[in-house]
Symmetry: D2
Amino acid sequence: MTEMPYRNALIIGAGSGISGSLTRLLRDAGLPVVIAARNIDKLKPLVDETGAIALTVDAADPAQVERLLAETEARIGAPEIVVYNASGRVRGPIAELDPAEVGKALGVTALGAFYAVQAAAKRMTPAGKGAILLTGATAGIKGFALSAPFAMGKFALRGLAQSAARELAPKGIHVAHIVVDGGVRAEHRPDPVDKPDSTLDPDAIAQTYLDLLRQHRSAWSWEIEVRPWVETF
Amino acid sequence: MTEMPYRNALIIGAGSGISGSLTRLLRDAGLPVVIAARNIDKLKPLVDETGAIALTVDAADPAQVERLLAETEARIGAPEIVVYNASGRVRGPIAELDPAEVGKALGVTALGAFYAVQAAAKRMTPAGKGAILLTGATAGIKGFALSAPFAMGKFALRGLAQSAARELAPKGIHVAHIVVDGGVRAEHRPDPVDKPDSTLDPDAIAQTYLDLLRQHRSAWSWEIEVRPWVETF
Amino acid sequence: MTEMPYRNALIIGAGSGISGSLTRLLRDAGLPVVIAARNIDKLKPLVDETGAIALTVDAADPAQVERLLAETEARIGAPEIVVYNASGRVRGPIAELDPAEVGKALGVTALGAFYAVQAAAKRMTPAGKGAILLTGATAGIKGFALSAPFAMGKFALRGLAQSAARELAPKGIHVAHIVVDGGVRAEHRPDPVDKPDSTLDPDAIAQTYLDLLRQHRSAWSWEIEVRPWVETF
Amino acid sequence: MTEMPYRNALIIGAGSGISGSLTRLLRDAGLPVVIAARNIDKLKPLVDETGAIALTVDAADPAQVERLLAETEARIGAPEIVVYNASGRVRGPIAELDPAEVGKALGVTALGAFYAVQAAAKRMTPAGKGAILLTGATAGIKGFALSAPFAMGKFALRGLAQSAARELAPKGIHVAHIVVDGGVRAEHRPDPVDKPDSTLDPDAIAQTYLDLLRQHRSAWSWEIEVRPWVETF
């Protein structure tokens, strides 16, 4: 089993699902973790459980993202792992969508990720080391009908991930894009009794994030998909 | 040879390259054409040559795009062909880019295309007929290093195109994404003498746009790449 | 309208659908056409209608393919257009398929295409000119359940097309892969009355082949998909 | 850390690189391993080191593959992990390749994998459990010039992997395709001193295989790429 090569982590867009599980796994591996979200009240149980530090951020605001990274650095050191997990979504027929809402959604899903990658790259490049994980979705591979804004955001995120991987990998920074294909299990959304594991267990997803973080630089992955065994694709 | 099934056209992001050639081909096919750009002074020679109507638009502003479509409708009828050809680009190491410039680039390349698709869909859906052509680039398929914002914009454009094709095709609207892979020939950028046709001739690209417009609805393409014979890919 | 830059054509895997329509369009453009199939009895109506020359070939046999090209050369000159349209297909659960049948299917769908590309390349390379069109399917992009052999064959065909395009384009040979996504209309399979044009009209597909053949070398496409307006994808 | 859910393993196409490392990791995890190759003399050091059982197989012969699975079953129980690692390759200009060699290469790279998947599926389906890992290459994603047969084989392998994943995942069988992008380190091919880890360390690749095997069925990956940090792509 390879060792975890990083010493701390920042998760942007934290909630109770993937990011909650990931926070637990990282703490179990001994890393201090900062979790950031627009509204950190909802993060209180996770903070109480794991000792993670919760910070407020509007990920679509570049100044706030830069401040978040600076604050993270002050609290746990320059971040060596940055996970971007935030996204915005509006659905409906193209003709009926509110243009302003579409812009906001793209801001959170794609521009916010850029700001995070930028702020992370500034700190990781001098160290010659770091990992940036971007949470994608099937919508980043396939543009579904009635969901154009989410397709735009997640496609853009994938383009960012690929471009950043090409630029930053030779500087020692591992950039990876995780395509989460399917619904993530939650208390309010348990699996049907006759279809066990038909939704993605957030602990299982987080384990794959951890596997990526432990990869040796001679064999890095820039993209991986995860989906339930019974999911059609 | 199949007939051109549309009666007029609007080209957003018009200049002297692809859009100039396309304007000529559409006029030759007998269609009135509106060409729109931020600065229409540069369009004067094209207007003089083809009789196209030039209108001003900042494609990143949804209100201006909606106004452009309304004005187009008033001048040549509800647009049956809408071509989106505008894009914004900033290059450089991720750490050095200006976040505001990145947001602007994404606004022109991706959000502007959404506004155009939306305004077009509103008018084409009632008619049950229309074509929307989106000018893409290799950056929408492959995210190159040192060009993250352009990758984000063109990936987003491709996601929009795919989602819009899935939603609008069954309503009779042909959405297609054209991946232009390589430099487009221009007066200031002629082909090297020993490498004829090593850049994309804008007339040749425009011919492929015309081929797409003439496709029968039983065999529509949603995506096509064009590149010079000697281009590596 | 650009001119047809080639003087004759060979279609391998000819039948009544795409290849029949293409034979008619090429004859209308004034080109002599050889059509080849395992069983040429079924081609008699097409021969009577178009004056095409029918030759027998088992496309999975490299010696027969080479002989076909030589015979074609003797009859209408070295072929400048070669279309490969043959495929083999077996369906069913992986565990129940006959391995020998799988091998045969791959032989027709993929190896036969290689033999055709090879024989064509030998003749086109000295001329510095030619076009090779390979008829693909959605199965070459997406591997469906219960259809592993067809996925293998059509993926392989796409790999061949891409590799051949990269090798042969700079030698003046246009290689293109056409992804036919959906059922092709046939006498025994008309469209449902309430869903007009819900299958691919072979004439419409053939028109796209013709568009590819007329492309200028400064803007060649190596791949294009065609599907009915109402097809889900 | 999740447990290894499988009890034994068969590796087809075994040598000293990836399969050697994987054999060691699986033995360390306590699994009996059968390693199979055309020539098992070269496997002697690995057998001596790990206690793996070496069996002879020509992977391109379906009867031999079926016999191999039966023999494996007799020796270590019905295989719960099957890794297909064999491939055949011929390089050169399309016009100069020997058609018979191309057929052979496709037989080893693609048909052999089908035979292995089939024989594995027959045994895993009744158990409702198993993992099939297929070793791919960049050539399965991108068809390079002068390497058409390898592109055909690896594309076909990817099509098989995707189709098999769709069919077999809902039966409890995890099918995954690993895209190895770059040269694998070997004694005769060490990294340049000034570019450490510029080739893929086979131990690092094997670790990713192990990560896939340990994935929970609620979040399976069907594909992952691995490449050195300094590899261009």
